[in-house]
């Protein structure tokens, strides 16, 4: 376990105060989390062995700053906001790793500011759309259905951990509020269909890009790996066996090695 430091930064004329978790040493890597909010997990521990990991919380999802979502109306605002976040953290052109919703945000940043993203790792990103393989709308799925779509093994310990309810009532309520509000805030940029024009901009990405997809992802079907790769010039795909929408946790060893080697190359 690495020591994780928590910083609160002030962005967008001090109207948004996200928390950023920072750990490790080495070249900087920004990690952008998915729609359910940020949890510091073993994959980030692994990354922090070789890199300085910066994991900012998306605007509004930071506990105590629910209004942080209000100043940002759309995706354009969100991309500009992350330009300011990078400045605040003193990062010129870090590597960016994005998961799911965070993958879409990472791709949008890289398409808008090709020189601001050193390398790009997209873990099961959303952002493109095929009528024959719709991305599931997790905002209206009951938790047990989400688990089935997210995990290769919905009965395994990882899945059970996600379904676990804290015993303490206050902690239980906090968790429910935190998750619901994280979904509400990230939902601002993707409802009702997460296809907000990335397809027009994605050709601008120049960073070398690694796409990682779990072969059993039933939330964002694996056919999207090819959709992304065919549009990003300098990209390759790693399909992961026995993993769903969170391959970096279901196959922790394999994926963290892949990502480390890619970022070191």
């Amino acid at each position: 376990m690495v020591a994780v430091q928590e910083r609160t930064i002030s962005v967008w004329e001090n109207k948004i105060k996200p928390k950023v978790q920072v750990a490790g040493s080495g070249p900087p890597v920004v990690f952008l989390h998915g729609a359910y909010g940020l949890t510091w997990d073993p994959f980030l521990d692994e990354l922090a062995r070789n890199f300085t990991v910066y994991a900012p919380e998306h605007p509004g999802t930071t506990w105590g700053d629910p209004d942080g979502i209000k100043p940002l109306d759309n995706l354009w605002d969100l991309v500009l906001y992350y330009d300011e976040v990078f400045d605040q953290l003193g990062l010129q052109n870090p590597a960016v790793v994005g998961h799911s919703f965070g993958g879409m945000v990472a791709a949008e940043i890289a398409a808008s500011y090709p020189h601001r993203v050193g390398q790009l790792v997209l873990l099961c990103p959303i952002g493109l759309w095929r009528d024959d393989a719709p991305v599931k709308n997790w905002m209206i799925m009951p938790p047990e259905d989400v688990i089935k779509a997210v995990f290769h093994d919905p009965t395994g310990p990882l899945a059970q951990q996600m379904l676990a309810i804290p015993e303490d009532e206050k902690a239980q309520q906090d968790a429910q509020i935190r998750t619901t509000w994280a979904l509400a805030c990230t939902g601002r940029f993707i409802w009702p269909i997460p296809d907000k024009g990335l397809k027009k901009r994605i050709h601008r990405i120049t960073s070398s890009t690694l796409l990682v997809w779990g072969k059993s992802d039933k939330l964002v079907p694996p056919v999207y790996a090819q959709e992304f790769a065919s549009r990003i010039k300098n990209s390759r795909i790693a399909m992961i066996d026995q993993a769903g929408h969170v391959p970096q946790l279901e196959q922790l060893g394999e994926v963290s090695t892949l990502v480390r080697d890619f970022l070191k190359s």
Partner: protein, 415 residues
């Protein structure tokens, strides 16, 4: 008090095993399997006939509302219905209560300013302008509105509509969600400065505040009767008292399911299956459709999770499929029975809730046309006259079209 007949215009012939076979009555019930356009044409005509019959029978107002992709009620544009009702009740002292066009999903919202003004002029100044926020099902799932933006859009649309009705001059609207270069609505309403505005709500603090701040009538629309309603309405009146606002009962509206027969026993025989159809099939909606994240603002979300409001509502819903007629009536979800039973329960409910504008759902679920007319007939002859005097000794209904505020003369002769 003022009493209006509310109609949902439901599909009246869903299959017996509907709730076992299908995911939801709302958003995703497959039309190709369930819908019959010929039948639906008949339903629309019956619905209009039932409301017009209620108007002729002396009802103070007739109400329609807006829902989408919904087999329990599908008047996607309530103003199409309202225009027929306005025309058919020309010359009668009955209010056209539109409960109403959903603000966040009508684009641009000046469309509502125009259509409501059409109805107000056509009806000779008899419109009540309902301004719903819309359910999550209608606004976010059917119309694609981003959940976290629904309420903001609503506030902006409301302000735009009122300004469009009242501004003396042409103006530009530079809003966050709507930009209009030259707002100059034709026609404007007869009622000045504008028709009374009713705000339907489900008990959220933000909606009370909004209604009170603008001096609109707050209407608690749900299907669980005065016992459940009391929790919400007590909160509303406490809020009004704290703000130092006049506690005029006409500031509040309430919807109640009502079924009247000659005797209590006959009411059970005639209505039980339609009541069960309503609660089991028409309200067959999965929980996750009601509250997509962001539909509630942060403070309402925190409030409802900390107080366990969502859980208690959910638990209550779970029990309903096992209810018998007696349970529905004992718990007052439905007020049903002989005229004497109904008027006692209704009077009690109205007093408990302190409500001046009562809406009664007299067509319930699968009720056939004839039975609906019978219900309307018994209600208007045997129940309504006994309730009309309530509140009028002390309070004026400032949220009712001005020309209709006097007590209505029942026009049975018109039948």
């Amino acid at each position: 008090m003022k009493i209006s007949m509310f109609h949902l215009m439901p599909y009246r012939d869903l299959p017996d095993d509907f709730e076992q076979r299908y995911h939801s009555v709302w958003v995703d019930p497959p039309w190709k399997e369930l819908g019959n356009a010929e039948k639906v044409g008949q339903y629309y005509n019956w619905t209009l006939d039932e409301l017009i019959y209620a108007a002729k029978s002396g009802m103070d107002g007739i109400c329609v509302n807006e829902h989408h992709q919904n087999a329990y009620g599908f008047m996607p544009n309530p103003n199409l219905m309202g225009s027929v009702l306005a025309r058919a009740t020309n010359g009668m002292d009955v209010a056209i209560v539109q409960m109403g066009s959903t603000l966040p999903t009508t684009n641009p919202p000046t469309r509502i300013a125009e259509e409501y003004a059409m109805l107000d002029t056509m009806s000779g100044g008899r419109l009540v302008a309902g301004m719903p926020l819309g359910t999550a099902m209608d606004a976010t799932l059917c119309a694609g509105i981003t959940p976290i933006e629904q309420r903001e859009r609503y506030y902006e649309a409301h302000d735009l509509i009122l300004k469009a009705w009242t501004a003396p001059d042409i103006f530009a609207w530079n809003g966050k969600y709507f930009q209009l270069p030259m707002v100059n609505v034709w026609p404007r309403p007869i009622q000045q400065p504008h028709p009374p505005v009713w705000i339907p709500g489900l008990g959220s603090l933000s909606t009370w505040e909004f209604a009170a701040q603008h001096n609109h009538c707050y209407c608690f629309l749900n299907y669980y009767g005065p016992v459940v309603g009391k929790g919400v309405m007590d909160g509303f009146w406490q809020f009004i008292a704290q703000k130092g606002i006049e506690p005029n009962p006409y500031r509040a509206g309430f919807l109640q399911l009502v079924a009247v027969a000659e005797t209590d026993a006959l009411a059970e025989k005639l209505y039980e299956k339609h009541i069960r159809y309503f609660y089991n099939k028409s309200l067959h909606i999965p929980g996750e459709f009601f509250f997509p994240p962001g539909h509630q603002d942060y403070r309402s979300l925190e409030n409802s999770i900390r107080k366990g409001l969502l859980k208690s509502q959910f638990d209550q819903l779970q029990a309903i499929p096992n209810y018998k007629f007696k349970d529905f009536v004992d718990k007052r979800l439905v007020i049903a029975g002989s005229p004497a039973t109904v008027r006692d329960m209704l009077r009690q409910g109205v007093e408990d809730l302190r409500v001046g504008n009562l809406m009664v759902l007299l067509h319930i679920g699968s009720m056939p046309h004839d039975l609906t007319l019978k219900n309307i007939d018994l209600f208007t002859r045997e129940v309504m006259p006994h309730l009309h005097d309530k509140w009028d000794d002390k309070w004026e209904n400032k949220w009712w079209p001005e020309k209709l505020r006097a007590k209505r003369q029942t026009s049975l002769a018109a039948l």
